[in-house]
């Protein structure tokens, strides 16, 4: 069985937010809820880095551990899903999650939390695969159709990788190895393995590998 994983390559992510938009469209998530977000560290300064982050589908998921109604389950593919019929919208998973993945529509009394919504790795929920009910509650179920999450499939720079952990790490290992063997260990010149994109003496700024 596959063990599904996300990996975002910070050397490649250009903070275009296409993954965020693709996810929102594919899963038709409620207003105010974004299952995925791009965070930029040191924004605007030399050496800034962006990462696309959503549920990381932890092996020992803190959300599942603290849930007072035990609504989480892990699929055979290692995807952490939850049952919205069981969820009571308490917000404990939001406190426990390191990645800020759980989101809450403000549909409860006095505008408080409704039932939690989070990235499903495009794998829907406990309902029948690709049923109308499943789509209404959890959005698309691309995994059941043999496809990978749309955020990663849409990524223009192939920064965001999704799929079986072994495959994803093979791809990333190849990139890292290539980067390590070049004279420079970072910069646009090493983010891509195509020789045409390698460093040029005339390029200034980020591309030159200088801050």
């Amino acid at each position: 069985m596959a063990r599904m994983k996300f990996l975002c390559d910070a050397e490649r992510c250009i903070e275009c937010n296409a993954c965020v938009t693709a996810c929102k469209n594919e899963n038709e998530v409620p207003w105010g809820v974004n299952r995925r977000r791009v965070v930029t560290i040191n924004d605007g300064s030399p050496g800034e880095r962006s990462l696309s982050v959503a549920c990381m589908h932890c092996s020992d998921a803190p959300c599942a551990a603290v849930c007072p109604v035990d609504c989480f389950y892990t699929t055979d593919d290692g995807v952490v899903l939850h049952d919205k019929d069981i969820c009571i919208g308490c917000g404990y998973c939001f406190y426990a999650c390191p990645f800020g993945a759980p989101q809450f529509p403000t549909t409860g009394a006095f505008g408080s939390r409704g039932k939690m919504d989070k990235c499903t790795f495009c794998a829907g929920g406990p309902e029948e695969d690709n049923s109308a009910e499943e789509h209404r509650k959890y959005g698309g179920n691309r995994l059941a159709e043999g496809k990978l999450p749309l955020c990663a499939e849409m990524c223009a720079t192939r920064a965001l990788l999704a799929g079986d952990g072994d495959t994803v790490s093979d791809i990333f290992r190849e990139r890292v190895t290539w980067r390590g063997s070049s004279g420079f260990t970072w910069g646009w010149g090493v983010a891509y393995s195509k020789p045409g994109l390698r460093n040029s003496r005339d390029v200034e700024g980020k591309a030159a590998g200088k801050d």
Binding site: V38, V39, I41, P62, V69, G100, Q103
Partner: protein, 365 residues
């Protein structure tokens, strides 16, 4: 570096000052040179250090979460890794839930054991048949208001805290989800009412709960459990005063933290809400454990105690035995009501209340 501290060698003042100046110079200048030196070495080796490495170390640091920029608006959406989540999880699952269960169950067990072996405190001289008013109607209404709200909040809170362990195996996930959802909504609805009650208790009872004469003696004798003879006490004994201040301080704490958690849209972040849950849980468990003791002493644990909160009157012998200083003052003031008079008074009130709903008497005329 130790010898640079001047207070360690007071004789060689000049020498130490020179050393200190050198030390300061090193402190100020070194960090500016260090990264440069490292970068130079890297360039010399044909490599440029990846600033990303340092960056990720910072992001994953276990102390302060590093906030970045993001297009997504939402609570803490700029925080890439929330480092407090894991601590909160460990606290809740490994400490709060098991300790709460053990403490509440343990206190309940201890009280039952205590009652089986020692029985409650009886009235030493039986009933006198004469009464002193202990609590006015407004105080009794306030007490039972807080009691009702608190017991409801305690039950719903305990369902949310321990239901996964205790109730899911009994009811299953679907049914428990309905119970937990109702508990959450009820807890949120009645929570703010508890704050009103605590404020009311404070206003009505604070003047009688400052430490006073005999409190230390009462505590040293543990309220009469040690040393045989019942220690002297005023209107409230030291135990009641401690319970009062526990209810006020812990009650206010769980009310404020509860409000922080109930309305999560005033910009409070996850660290604050996680801390609030810790305080809320610990405080509530303490109060529930204390409540068991309070209920026991007010009912089976002490003969004729409950009357003070039901009718508002206590037997004079009860007052003399448990609150001798207060009884003395009341008897000196002539506040003692004979049993017959009290009965008439209560009957009078009863008939007065019943009159409008009795058209039968008019028919008889």
């Amino acid at each position: 570096m130790n010898q640079t501290k001047p207070w360690q060698i007071p004789c060689a003042a000049v020498f130490s000052r020179m050393l200190m100046a050198l030390f300061v110079l090193v402190l100020v200048v070194m960090p500016q040179f260090a990264p440069q030196a490292r970068a130079d070495a890297d360039t010399a080796a044909g490599k440029v250090a990846n600033p990303g490495t340092e960056l990720w170390r910072e992001v994953r640091q276990r102390e302060a979460p590093l906030a970045g920029a993001t297009q997504v608006t939402g609570m803490d959406s700029g925080v890439l890794i929330n480092t407090l989540g894991e601590q909160w999880r460990r606290f809740r699952m490994e400490q709060l839930v098991p300790v709460a269960g053990a403490l509440i169950g343990g206190v309940l067990g201890l009280i039952i054991l205590f009652h089986l072996f020692k029985r409650g405190v009886r009235l030493e001289h039986g009933r006198s048949g004469n009464y002193i008013q202990r609590f006015k109607e407004i105080d009794r209404i306030l007490h039972w208001y807080v009691a009702t709200v608190f017991i409801f909040l305690a039950l719903t809170g305990l369902i949310l805290l321990t239901g996964r362990v205790v109730l899911i195996p009994v009811f299953g996930h679907e049914v428990f989800s309905a119970i937990a959802s109702a508990s959450k909504e009820g807890h949120n609805l009645f929570g703010p009412l508890f704050l009103l009650g605590v404020v009311g208790l404070f206003i009505r009872f604070v003047s009688k709960n400052f430490p006073g004469k005999g409190d230390l003696g009462w505590l040293l004798k543990a309220g009469g459990f040690l040393g045989g003879k019942h220690p002297s006490a005023g209107f409230f004994n030291a135990g009641e005063k401690i319970w009062f201040w526990l209810v006020i301080v812990v009650g206010l704490t769980i009310s404020v933290t509860g409000l922080i958690l109930e309305f999560p849209f005033f910009g409070q972040d996850r660290p604050l809400m996680a801390l609030s849950l810790v305080l809320h849980g610990v405080g509530a468990v303490l109060l529930v454990a204390g409540l068991f003791g309070h209920i026991y002493v007010g009912t089976a644990g002490m003969e004729a105690s409950l009357e003070s909160m039901t009718t508002g009157y206590v037997d004079v012998n009860w007052a003399r035995q448990h609150h001798d200083q207060w009884a003395e003052v009341c008897e000196a003031e002539g506040a003692v009501v004979a049993g017959e008079d009290l009965k008439k008074k209560q009957q009078l009130r009863g008939t007065k209340n019943r009159v409008p709903s009795r058209p039968a008497t008019e028919e008889g005329q």
